[in-house]
Amino acid sequence: MSAHIRPPQFDPALVARYDVAGPRYTSYPTAPRFRSDFNETALRAVIRESNEEPIPRSLSLYVHIPFCTSPCFFCGCNRIITRDPAQAGRYLERLYREIELTAPQFSRDRLVRQLHFGGGTPNFLGIELMRELLGSLAHNFSFSSEPEREYGIEIDPRHADADYVRELGRLGFNRISIGVQDLDPKVQHAVNRVQTFEQIQDVIVGARAAQFRSVSIDLIYGLPFQSVAGFGRTLDRIEQLEPDRVVVYGYAHLPEMFKAQRQIRAEDLPDPAIRLALFGCALERLTAAGYVYIGMDHFARVQDELAVAQRDGSLQRNFQGYSTHGECDIVGLGVSAIGRISNTYSQNARDLVGYYAALDNGRLPVVRGLHLDQDDLIRRALINELMCYGAVDKRAFGDHNGIVFDDYFRRELQRLQELVADGLVEEDDNRIKATPRGRLLVRIIAMCFDAYLGEDAQVPRYSRVI
């Protein structure tokens, strides 16, 4: 499936035409589809059943630390702004209870092979609290001791230095993702995220010293006052840092959904043409600097495990974007965290009040979720292949999923013809394959196979496809 992955080709006119709202497919069905009748009883039953497979899947833990000391105006994440360190203590108390309630449900031989700390700002927690949290996780779950285990963390460089990151390395972290967004001071002020190049450099020094396996840098295009020249300068300096991965997110301005975004004035945002040029600039420079385009917004060095996973066919789409270890069940811990156990998704309470209340009563804080049916599973597998490899072998996919591809997806393939005519995708009896121009619009191709998009007029709010 991944034998030959073509590099993408930037076609501004085409991209502009398909600049419509669409899901990012970090899950399928997408989170707005989760149902409130998926409760603690359902989750416990699913975990029990998943323990009873002949070879129960390994675990991937996602831990959400929701606190930030100041609001970045672009952010659409679930987070809480506070400078009160006592908040962390109250939160961790509940998080430990959740860990103690959750971990024993999994058979002890289900090893944790992947761990990811996201936020908010995970490094809101000082190193002592981090040590305590990892201790709780390691005490309650069975951690893998193999060197391939992945412990990743998102870092805000304004609140971390080389020493802190070295300590994280001692705790077992070996992957880091650093929020940079843009280095241009004017842009930084406009989004309330002012940080220096030296702060970022310091974090990377710590990560390299601690022999982190992968250093990732997050950038955002489409922010206020961004220009191609300025973004180009940011990219120049980022390349000097030699990150293993670069993720270039598109800013989605949805002020009616995210309160912090109301601080951003629409008139300061780059127009659609500049938006496109910003992404085109990133694509061109990163490719020239030797990065492989993984898909959507992700770039990685040829030897980075993400690029390796794409070559060997073990890449997956998940809540962190792209990831290896597709075979794991994901356990979501913390407020708003989403888990993926067997054929289900489940999400914790999205506010602290609900999260605390459940745990204070000795209940798991799950508030909604979804049982995927056979059709959901088939479509999820297909959308995953498209998002990860930009191509699907119809026969292999059909055999694997017990369907005759062209019959099962007759209507979807008709819908696809418009994209074929536009040169986004090629389709014949054997396969579907994004063209180099279509690779940047793979979400559009995946949307053809989304069973939920057609059926309701009120499409949930998604960000732009590019």
Partner: protein, 253 residues
């Protein structure tokens, strides 16, 4: 005199279902159909012998088909689904004694004592035929092939229980278990290398007298050595010859 045979109204789940019998024909997967037909006994003739085969309502996962101590009146043939036979011992420990699938006959353990010596629990949606015992017994006395089939069922049961009591490695147990399941599916004409394990791994472990973790560890090892492919509960044997070498000692001759 009337056959109480009911024509099934439910759509058949999956392809391995047999409900193709009617007033004059036996279901193709009926454990006894081959034996009967080979000797010229069609359904009409069986009815004349008052051999009444009753199709039961479906059982669901966890339902008891019979319990230890229940009086024995009939054998049951699986038209589709999966059943485990087990005995619950003190402090709720459940010892699994066997797994049965489409075409298998369960209940033979009750023939001698006239009470079922163990529990039979459905692992999945399961469709059964009830074969009233005196009638089957009469049939066996008239059709040698039916008698032979009953004896075969009994001796197979004995053999497998004895073998598992022996001193065998975990690898041998798991390999033989997989091969045995495949052989039983293959005997009914389905894919000879793929099986669906509808039973929980704790049941497999109990049956094989191993810890659950050991079953998974052995299967992981087989997978790493490319002897099997595992996807959820579906297992494909990639190298049955090698597995046969490993499970040799536990396999029937």
């Amino acid at each position: 005199m009337n056959a109480r045979y009911q024509v099934e109204r439910l759509p058949e789940p999956g392809c391995s279902m047999a409900g193709d019998g009617d007033e004059s024909h036996l279901c193709s997967t009926c454990a006894f159909s081959h034996a009967c037909l080979a000797t010229g006994f069609d359904r009409a003739r069986l009815s004349a012998l008052e051999c009444v085969v009753e199709h039961l309502e479906p059982f669901h996962a966890g339902d008891f088909i019979f319990r230890r101590g229940d009086p024995f009146h009939a054998l049951f043939a699986l038209r589709s689904g999966a059943v485990k036979i087990c005995r619950t011992e003190g402090d709720n420990h459940q010892q699994v004694l066997g797994f049965y699938g489409t075409g298998d006959v369960i209940g033979v353990g009750g023939i001698y004592s006239q009470r079922f010596p163990c529990d039979a629990i459905a692992l999945d949606v399961t469709y059964l035929c009830r074969l009233p015992f005196p009638a089957i017994s009469t049939l066996a006395s008239q059709i040698p092939a039916v008698q032979q089939h009953l004896l075969r069922v009994l001796s197979e049961r004995l053999g497998s229980v004895q073998r598992l009591n022996g001193n065998y490695s975990a690898d041998a147990r798991v390999a033989a278990f997989l091969l045995d399941l495949v052989a039983r599916v293959a005997a009914r004409g389905f894919s000879p290398t793929r099986i669906h394990l509808s039973m929980p791994r704790t049941d497999i472990a109990s049956y094989l007298r191993l810890a659950a973790e050991t079953v998974s560890r052995v299967m992981s090892r087989f997978r790493a050595r490319k002897l099997i492919a595992v996807r959820g509960r579906d297992v494909e044997l990639l190298n049955p010859d090698r597995l046969r070498d490993i499970g040799q000692a536990l396999l029937p001759l």
